[in-house]
Amino acid sequence: MSSPLFAARAAAKSYELGETEVVALAGVDLEIAAGEFVAIAGPSGSGKSTLLHLLGALDSPDTGSVAIAGRDLATLSERERTLLRRRRLGFVFQSFHLVPVLSALENVEYPLWIDDVPAAERRERARGMLESVGLGHRLDHLPDRLSGGERQRVAIARALVHRPAAILADEPTGNLDSANGAAIFELMLAVRREHGTTFVLATHDPTLMAHSPRRIELRDGRIVSDTAGPGDPAKGAGA
């Protein structure tokens, strides 16, 4: 049996808040296979973002382990983690986090640019990606000239342009109205269908939760439910 794309084993993480230690994750076991679409829900402080950070090689667990495609992240150097994020993962954030001085096209080109992809190729791929998210007419617009929905489309295009194995999205519809939120959700589902890209989303959005093929609920740093929607294999709670 092939190894899952993401595997967390008893992953725990705490933070110090002043003199208080806050437990963000209290030993999470989780496996996510390639091509899955997983929504992680839970109240604020339940550990959603922390789990995404661990799965995205942005942070390390205090105890336990996290592996991507069978590689334990603890064994990777800082440079290897950077390259892993650059080439294998894509990130989408609630506030879009586009570079304000770069146009939509340049923002999407950016991951290819830092990876030394030749200019003609990266321009072509970025243009094609923006067209595929419906922004072919906004290539040269700076982010502040785009609507919230358009910015999130640019962010998704940026996360997809280097053809990552997975996209980790933290509240991707959190700053959008319901129509734009639904459109972004549909876009992500379409990308998954078309490219087989794995999606892991942290969300408060009940609609998005309801329609996600797999739903994980966190509370106080623990997985309290892990259910599959139609067409997706169910996972046991707490794995």
Binding site: G56, L58, E78, R85, R86, F93, V101, Y110, I114
Partner: protein
């Protein structure tokens, strides 16, 4: 290189702050350019003043005289002077760049006004016409300079420096008596008439200095020798080449002659130059520190304002070295653009200051005020751009350290 344009766009985000940073760099650049211009002007002015004030570009003296007193000695005893100096002069005056060769006779003794006290003097016998051809400046304050023509016996003239004239109570037209020892030790006396009063430009020398015609000096010392020969060139920059040519041309003369460039006889010039260079580097260090502190603070602010953005860039795979390159390019742009603006402002400031013809107080040891003229130093205009680039890269070290050590997770949470 790919971060250069990105950095330029980042600088355009907060134009007011970028303008302030550019102004800081430009102000530092202008300050250094004005200082460099003033120092170069001072060096050039002092150099030419010393050359045309009596040193000449080259000195030809007997090797014996140079061996006994050293190269730097300003006067040479006539006992170790040059015989057959006319032939030496004729040889040297044929060489390229040589404008004229003047024979000098150094002497010292006493001078007296009838019925007055005796005052000691240091003097020099010169050839006024050749002095003029060599561009030697005589600052006549009263009366006139020495006549060009060789004076007949009984028609000998003297020009006195102001301090010496004051000590004697002498004026143009007065008859004075010079007393000096000849090379064989005999004390000779000669009556001379005061042609004019001059200043050497150096206060201490003005109290003892007089100048007579070479023929008058030879008559007073009862000799045909001269102490040394001074060579005037058409271009100070040709001094080294001319020294080689003169040395080769005189190699066969006996007794042997030594050829010394002006710089080795201008200890004062070297001292002033070293002092000014010390001041320049001191001021430069102050400017360096001020620009580093001011711009480093600005660069830190630009980093701290972009914590979340830097966190995002790190999250999507930007390496710390690439983040560092981004900040360093911003610093580099500030340094280079600020210095170029400073170059333009500095050129305008130099032209403006020179146009005002401001008077400066006499420099130490001098008696006349001088015109403040700042030199355009092309190499300083070019070098300052490189210097400011380095200054800003130094200023960027702390911001770079901060930018590259940002925790990605904390940066993403940053509001």
């Amino acid at each position: 290189m790919k971060f250069a344009l990105f950095a330029l766009r980042n600088l355009a985000r907060n134009r007011r702050r970028t303008a302030i940073s550019l102004a800081i760099v430009a102000a530092g650049t202008v300050g250094l350019l004005l200082t460099a211009g003033f120092i170069r002007f001072s060096f050039d002015g002092l150099r030419e003043a010393m050359i045309h004030g009596g040193l000449g570009h080259l000195e030809i003296a007997s090797q014996a005289a140079v061996a006994s007193r050293g190269e730097a000695a300003l006067d040479r005893s006539v006992q170790q002077g040059i015989d057959g100096w006319q032939e030496v002069r004729a040889t040297v005056e044929k060489l390229p760049h040589v404008v004229a060769v003047q024979a000098n006779l150094h002497l010292m003794g006493m001078i007296q006004k009838p019925g007055g006290d005796s005052v000691s003097f240091v003097g020099v016998g010169v050839e006024p016409e050749r002095e003029r051809r060599m561009g030697f400046e005589t600052k006549v304050r009263q009366g006139r300079a020495l006549a060009d023509a060789t004076p007949a016996a009984g028609d000998d003239e003297v020009v006195l420096a102001l301090g010496l004239a004051a000590a004697l109570g002498a004026r143009p037209g007065d008859l004075l008596t010079l007393l000096a020892a000849s090379p064989d030790g005999m004390l000779n006396a000669l009556d001379v008439r005061v042609a004019g009063l001059v200043t050497t430009g150096v206060q201490e020398l003005d109290s003892r200095y007089l100048k007579i015609h070479l023929a008058t000096g030879q008559r007073l010392l009862a000799t045909d020798r001269v102490s040394n020969l001074l060579v005037g060139l058409d271009d100070t920059a040709a001094t080294a080449a001319a020294q080689v040519a003169v040395t080769q041309a005189l190699a066969s003369f006996s007794p042997a002659l030594a050829v010394t460039p002006w710089e080795k006889r201008a200890a004062f010039y070297s001292q002033v130059r070293n002092l000014y260079l010390g001041i320049f580097w001191f001021l430069g260090a102050i400017v360096f520190v001020l620009v580093v502190l001011a711009t480093s603070n600005t660069l830190v602010m630009t980093v701290m304002e972009r914590v979340r953005e830097i966190g995002t860039l790190r999250a999507i795979g930007t390496a710390p070295g690439q983040i560092a390159a981004m900040v360093l390019w911003e610093a580099l742009w500030l340094g280079v653009l600020g210095a170029l603006v400073g170059d333009a402002l500095g050129a305008a400031a130099i032209a403006g200051i020179n146009g005002l013809h401001l008077k400066m107080p006499p420099p130490p040891g001098a008696v006349d005020p001088i015109d403040l003229q700042l030199a355009f130093v092309p190499e300083a205009f070019a070098a300052i751009v490189g210097v400011m680039a380095v200054v800003l890269l130094v200023a960027a070290l702390a911001p770079v350290a901060r930018a590259t050590r940002i925790s990605v997770v904390e940066a993403l949470r940053h509001v």
